[in-house]
Symmetry: none
DNA sequence: TGCATACTTTGATGGTAAACGAAGTGTTCC
DNA sequence: GGAACACTTCGTTTACCATCAAAGTATGCA
């Protein structure tokens, strides 16, 4: 009879696979049950495509994700409900429980929703376009002097945001809009400010964002957005 | 901003803490709810005392274990049921849930055993189902008026139980039954009463519970359980 | 008081792995 | 066919962390 000489080794290998920031970001991005391509996950994780590929290979080896090859795309998704369950158990310990997302997408999700930890949907795309038009972001997604002033005025601690070991800002492609919105640490900080100032409120269970009337006014006044 | 800038960072730090073989061995050794000294855990983990000390410090920092100082001994134990729950979730992924890998697991372990600090196995699951059927617990695991009367009649000090800084009651998923039993402070109090009234007796070394003939009679009379 | 025990902290060392760019494989589209 | 794209593999660098012995702290016992 073959008995694993060290049953804890399997557990620790799995936990170690989760216990790397970039891989954790990928996994929690997949918690909604949706499949994503390698490049999308690279952006979410804030690493280069080659690095992401190595990470995904490891996650596949540990049976945490599965892959579906379709043409030149590779769609990665969580291996099964048990994986989501384990991730959920860890979230409880982290003190920020994330409910398991039911893979049915309400239509209001199209207007404003979160993509991982930043704003997406038409709201996210509009903001992204506005930042470009205002000259806050260069085309390499660096802050311009104007942008530095603008984001600081919104109450974003740029120094702390930069200090994170994660890509500062990047274009994150939206799965429905297929147009970029602002991801990375800056995108996350932006969502946090919007929540704090009650421009948007977050559905407890899902990814939907509701724009408040205050938010509507502010977005109109500050960015000329009609949302 | 006081909010964690990257919520996954907390998760990945915790997973990384578990994802080291020596630390994983320590944690799973503590899964029975028993507290152990630093030296005992060093032996279990197969590392030197100094290394074990570093590991335990990290586990404490991540709030996975707590320590009780008694004289020159330091007793380490799991921080709470949530930790056991997260570890259990990872075990499921590892494919060889703990307890099943020992082929000589006494069959009575399946019937009645402890899970951390409360009753599990078919006994725990049966009780859980009975409480639900009797309308003692709401589906959010709050006590109903009926339940308040019922548990008090069993000799459980509900006020003291509620005062504990720990989830009052929760569904704890069993690794073998794959069905919930009552965990949390209420589950712990329940086990304590069962032990005190000698409905069950506890194996000193392991997690097995033996149901006494008195317990058999009482469980039949009070809950209609045939165990 | 003095010695033994239990455990932690410190410092040095070695091994592991995460990161990236460049090059390679395979696919689609014109 | 060939150019563009998606993704992987390889090779190198760098940073972190697990490990132990030795020294330090604290408690118990005689």
């Amino acid at each position: 009879m073959h008995v694993d000489p060290d049953p804890d080794a399997a557990v620790s290998r799995i936990a170690a696979a989760i216990g790397e920031p970039a891989r954790a970001r990928m996994l929690y991005c997949l918690m909604d049950g949706r499949a994503r391509t390698s490049t999308e996950l690279a952006i979410v994780a804030g690493v280069s495509p080659s690095t992401a590929s190595v990470h995904l290979h490891r996650l596949k080896t540990e049976r945490l994700v599965k892959v579906l090859v379709q043409g030149k795309h590779r769609y990665y998704s969580l291996e099964g409900p048990d994986v989501a369950g384990a991730l959920e158990g860890l979230s409880v310990l982290a003190g920020s429980p994330r409910g398991r997302f039911v893979p049915s997408t309400p239509s209001r999700l199209r207007a404003a929703r979160t993509c991982y930890d930043h704003m997406a949907g038409t709201l996210g795309v509009s903001l992204h376009d506005r930042f470009e038009a205002l000259g806050w972001l260069s085309d390499t997604y660096d802050l311009t002097p104007k942008g530095t002033k603008g984001f600081a005025a919104l109450g974003i601690d740029l120094e702390a945001t930069r200090a994170l070991r994660r890509r500062f800002a990047c274009a994150c492609l939206d799965w429905s809009e297929r147009r970029p919105h602002v991801g990375g640490a800056l995108g996350a900080a932006l969502l946090k400010v919007a929540l704090k100032r009650k421009w948007v409120t977050q559905d407890l269970e899902g990814r939907a964002l509701a724009i408040t009337s205050l938010g509507r006014r502010e977005l109109q006044a500050r960015f000329g957005l009609r949302v």
